[in-house]
Assembly symmetry: C2
């Protein structure tokens, strides 16, 4: 990571962050032009254009998965006995449990009605990111999966936004994850394009020129969380522009932000 | 949680979040008037006054701990043999390991050079929140502890800000925590006053009036993360005002956001 842009006087950036949730994005269905809808929403939002290279566009997993067709109709699913038993014991939908198990590389915990798996991407999360859909009145039968390659999803959105507006804006695909030890969900990054998930400040001199920082900031995850705050209480705003976070620009992958097993103390 | 303020049209709030880091706060030492410094910084920052009741003031643990005298001089610490052995094996300061163990209610993991404990407050984090200080040239001997009661810390700051500006603004005391499975730190809330750490949207109708949300948002943690993004690359801005997040107002405790042992799958 370059450190030349760290001002020892502590005036890097102007210390201001602005997050604008994008409204008016319709329900997305497989094959819909999601990037076009995002671009239209950017044009409708007061004060967002022209885009700036230090903006970050955050797009939630659910509309990305829908656009890419990463959905499953539960009526097509035949659950295995293990899924049926778990679902009966904990009052869950056995077909959804089956989909979670199919998406899993590894079951991390399956207890107390909670099913935590490691997905094919390496994410460890509840229900493997499989989520009930919000599409339409009979949506109870449809679940969304995580995108097959969320970095690639972020990349095609980034390219489409650059083609339309002429500015190369980093893109994060975000999802809502629970955490051990704390209640509630926070949004984190599951795919990135054009920015690094981490900013390594270890060895960077702090503002008094003596103290060295010893921190690796999970900037992509924090940007995803800031975006979620602007989404607010509904799912009507499934994307946001974050201005002022200044994450490190890089051709990177969200895999860079995941711990490898030898460092993982909570397998 | 009241749901009357949830607009079914999805227009709750205006979907905009602004975060302004407070600059010019000097090094804080035990007994310093931290609330006075925060107030001065709010007055210096363009556009922040008048404060609004839906603002949230985020203050980092380190300056709160310093103001409250929650610091330890390592030269006064005699490490136990277990601390010496762990420190020698993993190239750490045995006295700091000793302080972490003294602050711990329980050791969660002690491996790979990583020491994860449960603090007296119930937080599970690396090194029990014990952190090398940034105070002065000989700061290598001083570590900060977590505040004894971070909710109480948030409360006295909140009262002082209200006394000065006449607006009751919720306060979060934040700290940087690592997470299982992902590299890097994100800021989370360790103390709250005037807001609930969680917003329970389960059963709230979504924007199309049919779909029910099934989410509990960890709003205090997300607000802490958004503030950290505005702090930027240095510790010169140890507090921020977050405008537009609209967390639920409540007389609450950060303990409400922590899982009790019977739900904890990662003891």
């Amino acid at each position: 990571m370059p450190t030349a842009d760290v001002d020892p006087a502590g005036s890097t950036g102007d210390g201001r962050l602005e997050v604008v949730a994008l409204a008016g994005i319709p329900e997305i269905r497989p094959g819909d032009d999601l990037a076009g809808e995002l671009g239209d929403a950017l044009e409708r939002s007061a004060g967002l254009l022209p885009l700036r290279p230090d903006d970050v566009l955050v797009v939630t997993q659910k509309i990305v998965s829908k656009a890419e067709g990463a959905i499953v109709d539960l009526t097509s699913i035949e659950p295995r006995p293990e899924a049926v038993a778990f679902a009966q014991r904990w009052d869950r939908d056995a077909r959804q449990v089956e989909v979670v198990l199919r998406e899993a590389r590894r079951v991390v915990r399956m207890a107390n009605g909670v099913l935590i798996t490691e997905t094919s991407h390496g994410f460890i999360c509840a229900n493997g990111g499989v989520d009930a859909s919000n599409v339409g009145p009979d949506s109870g039968q449809i679940v969304t999966l995580l995108p097959v390659d969320p970095d690639a999803s972020a990349a095609w959105i980034r390219r489409a936004i650059e083609a339309r507006f002429g500015v190369d804006v980093p893109v994060i695909v975000s999802d809502s994850f629970g955490r051990p030890w704390r209640w509630g969900i926070v949004d984190v990054a599951i795919g990135v394009s054009g920015l690094a998930p981490l900013e390594d400040l270890r060895g960077v001199a702090d503002h008094d020129g003596r103290v060295m920082r010893s921190t690796v900031r999970a900037v992509a995850d924090e940007i995803a969380s800031a975006a979620e705050l602007a989404f607010g209480k509904t799912t009507a705003r499934p994307a946001a522009l974050v201005r002022g976070a200044n994450p490190p620009r890089a051709e990177a992958s969200m895999r860079d932000g995941l711990m490898s097993p030898e460092f993982d103390l909570f397998r």
